[in-house]
Symmetry: C2
Subunit: 154 residues, 2 copies
C-alpha cells in the first residue's frame, strides 16, 4: 500500500534502524556460519530439529512444525526431505487426517542435535547475552515479544 505522504525516518530512527539491521544480520550470519561449520546444517534446520525434539514422542504435524519453527510450508517440505535423506527425520502418515504428515525425529537425528547444541548455545551466549547487561536483556525480551506478537497477526 503506497502512502500518500511518506512518514520518513528521522535521524534517530534511521540510526536505530540501521544499527538493528546490522546487528541482527551479523548475529544471524555468525550463528549460521558456526552451525554450518560445526554441525553441517543451517540454522533453520537446527530450529526444526529443536522443535521436534521438544514435542511429545518427538513427533509433530508438518503444519505445526512449520508454524513453530518459523518456516513456510514449502521451506519445511524441502527441509524435511533433506533431513529425511540424512536419516535424522522420518515422515509418517497421520492416522486422523489422511492429508496429514507427521515428522518424527529419529534417534540418529536426536543424537546429531545433542552433539550440535552445546556449541550453538555457547555461540548464542557469547554473541548475544555476554554482550548485554542484565537490564538490556530484559529490555530486549520486552521489545521482541511486542514485535513478535505484532507480526504474528500481520
Amino acid at each position: 500500500m503506497m502512502p500518500v505522504m511518506t512518514r520518513w525516518l528521522d535521524p534517530d530512527e534511521q540510526r536505530t534502524w540501521r544499527a538493528f539491521l546490522t546487528a541482527s544480520r551479523a548475529l544471524m550470519d555468525t550463528l549460521d556460519r558456526e552451525l554450518q561449520r560445526d554441525a553441517g546444517i543451517p540454522h533453520a534446520y537446527y530450529e526444526i530439529l529443536v522443535r521436534l525434539s521438544e514435542a511429545p514422542e518427538r513427533r509433530l504435524r508438518m503444519s505445526e512444525l512449520a508454524e513453530s519453527s518459523g518456516s513456510s510450508r514449502s521451506r519445511l517440505s524441502h527441509a524435511v526431505a533433506r533431513l529425511e535423506a540424512a536419516g535424522w527425520v522420518r515422515r509418517e502418515d497421520c492416522p486422523t487426517d489422511r492429508r496429514g504428515q507427521i515428522a518424527h525425529l529419529t534417534d540418529e537425528g536426536f543424537a546429531k542435535l545433542a552433539a550440535a547444541a552445546p556449541g550453538h548455545v555457547e555461540g548464542v551466549r557469547r554473541h548475544l547475552f555476554d554482550a548485554l547487561s542484565p537490564t538490556q536483556v530484559e529490555q530486549l525480551r520486552g521489545i521482541s515479544e511486542v514485535l513478535a506478537e505484532r507480526l504474528r497477526r500481520a
Copy 2:
C-alpha cells in the same frame, strides 16, 4: 570451539532468545516479502542501492559497498552482476588500483530506488517503530549498537 561445560540458557534467557529469533525473523521476512512484491528486489539489493545512492557521485568501491551493505564479497559480485543486467548499476574500472571496480548507481537505478523507498520506509515504521514505545526504541538502539560493535570485531 567446544566448551567443556556448556553454559546452557536458563528459562528466562531461553524465552528472550526465542522471542528475539521469532521477532527478527518475522520482521525481516515481512519486509523482504513486501519489497519483493512492490519493487521486485530482495532487501539485500535494496540495501546496496541505498548505500550507493548516499555515496559521493553515487559511486563506491566494491569492497566498501560490501562492507557498508553487510554483504560478503561474493554475494555483492553476484548481486551487482544482476543489478547491472537490470541497468540500475554500472561497473567501472578504478583509476588508482587496477584490481579495483567501482559500482555506479545509474539514473535509472536511482529512480527505481526512489520509487521503492516510500513503501519500504512505511513498512519499517509500521512493523517496527509503531509497535514500540519511544523508550523501547531508545533501548533497542542501545542494544543494537552494542551488538553490532561486538560482532564487527568477531
